[in-house]
Amino acid sequence: MNVKYISTLVLLTFFYGCSSQVKIDNPNIPKLLITQAPFSVAIKYPDNFNNFLHEEKVIGKKSWQVDFSNSNRLLFNEIFQSFFEQVSVLENSEDNIYENFNFTIMPSIDAIEFSVPEQSQDETFSVWIRYRVKIFDFTGMEIINWPISAYGKTSTTTFSDDKDLANAAILAMRDAAALIVLQLEKTNKLSPSTQQVKIK
């Protein structure tokens, strides 16, 4: 009995030492301090935004699993609700989704990478997230296709590896918000003259 108990404990310790899981429930993205644009937009999220999981094995070391759950959805909701006057999230695929809104936005994730202190040889965790933001006008024509390369970095704290990696990922998400706002403010493709649909 004792032998079984000890071997289970040893095995559990072994597996715990080989992988680490980080969960980001809510990145707590604050309201953006910007002037709202007078448009009605729809956001269409890919299915994986409800439960996004990223797994990476550090060569020769343990593997890391980052569970973003629905935090990317919360991030984009906050960005676009701060930037546009009217925002609707489309839950089901529908035909003719474009014609009821000034713009329809489709964000997605192209790639995620991270580095841990064992790789970077310094006391930092870094996270790179490459989002893609596509914006369609009311006819369904793609007017914007931006790659958004976001970066977050945190220094290590004692016994908090998982939390440090999660914080670096949250910083990358905040960086994405900053980049998207800069791009949205700069573009001339979202001018009222190009639109025929008015806010209902």
């Binding site: 953006l32 301090l33 900053a178």
Partner: protein, 229 residues
């Protein structure tokens, strides 16, 4: 075996010895050499109720200032005789999101002027009664170690034998911007270095050169003097 009063006394004595040894070990630290310089450009001062915020320069510019160090300086200058009101860094960043993120943070006073032209941004500065932004740059490094130490454990106990040392260098710079006039008022640089030792005869005794903690204290004290004018 039943505990007799003598064995109880003996155990208590052993606990006291361990506690004394732990306190002694923690309180021991090796020497640190320090240099603090300030370079004043303009005149400073704080009106009643005015406050400051402490931020790290962007890591996009290659800065690696530790979060703990920013917390330490914020905490130190908000305590003591000539304490200064400090707006918490995270609260400030959230209020002004996304304008003080590493990518968007103003890198010079000209960029701050552009940012302050946004009414929502200048309103937050006014509502928070913020007078100065203190930018921190720099970090603490460990380098140039040497020595050797070996430890062993046997059926009758264990122990270590050897000697190891390493160098700790803390180099930080604080730059002070006046938000009211939007100008750089000057900067303070702090260089603290020391060598940490760890001799071991059965038990390793760490003698840390606490350069970061001392740099935090030194820089905070100098910041209080600088801002007071």
């Amino acid at each position: 075996m039943k505990n007799t009063p003598i064995s109880k006394e003996k155990t208590l004595y052993q606990y006291k010895l361990i506690a004394l040894f732990t306190i002694l070990t923690l309180s021991l630290s090796s020497c640190v050499t320090a240099r603090i310089e300030d370079n004043r450009i303009g005149s400073t001062g704080l009106e009643e109720g005015e406050g400051v915020v402490i931020l790290a320069k962007s890591y996009h510019l290659g800065n690696d200032t530790e979060t703990d160090f920013i917390k330490c300086v914020s905490s130190s200058i908000s305590k003591g005789a000539s304490r200064i009101r400090v707006v918490p860094t995270n609260k400030f960043k959230d209020l002004l999101f996304p304008w003080f993120e590493p990518r968007t943070v103003p890198s010079d006073t000209k960029s701050l002027t552009t940012l302050m032209a946004r009414k929502q941004v200048s309103d937050i500065f006014r509502n928070q009664n913020l007078r100065y932004i203190i930018w921190l740059d720099g970090n603490t490094d460990s380098s140039g170690g040497g020595g050797s130490m070996s430890c062993a454990v046997g059926p009758n106990g264990g122990g270590c034998f050897g000697f190891a040392w390493w160098q700790n260098d803390s180099n930080y710079e604080a730059t002070i911007w006046d938000v009211q006039d939007i100008k750089n008022e000057g900067n303070i640089s702090a260089e603290f270095s020391g060598t940490s030792f760890m001799p071991a005869i059965v038990i390793p005794i760490p003698l840390f050169a606490r350069t970061q903690a001392k740099a935090c204290k030194g820089l905070s004290d100098q910041l209080k003097i600088f801002i007071a004018g």
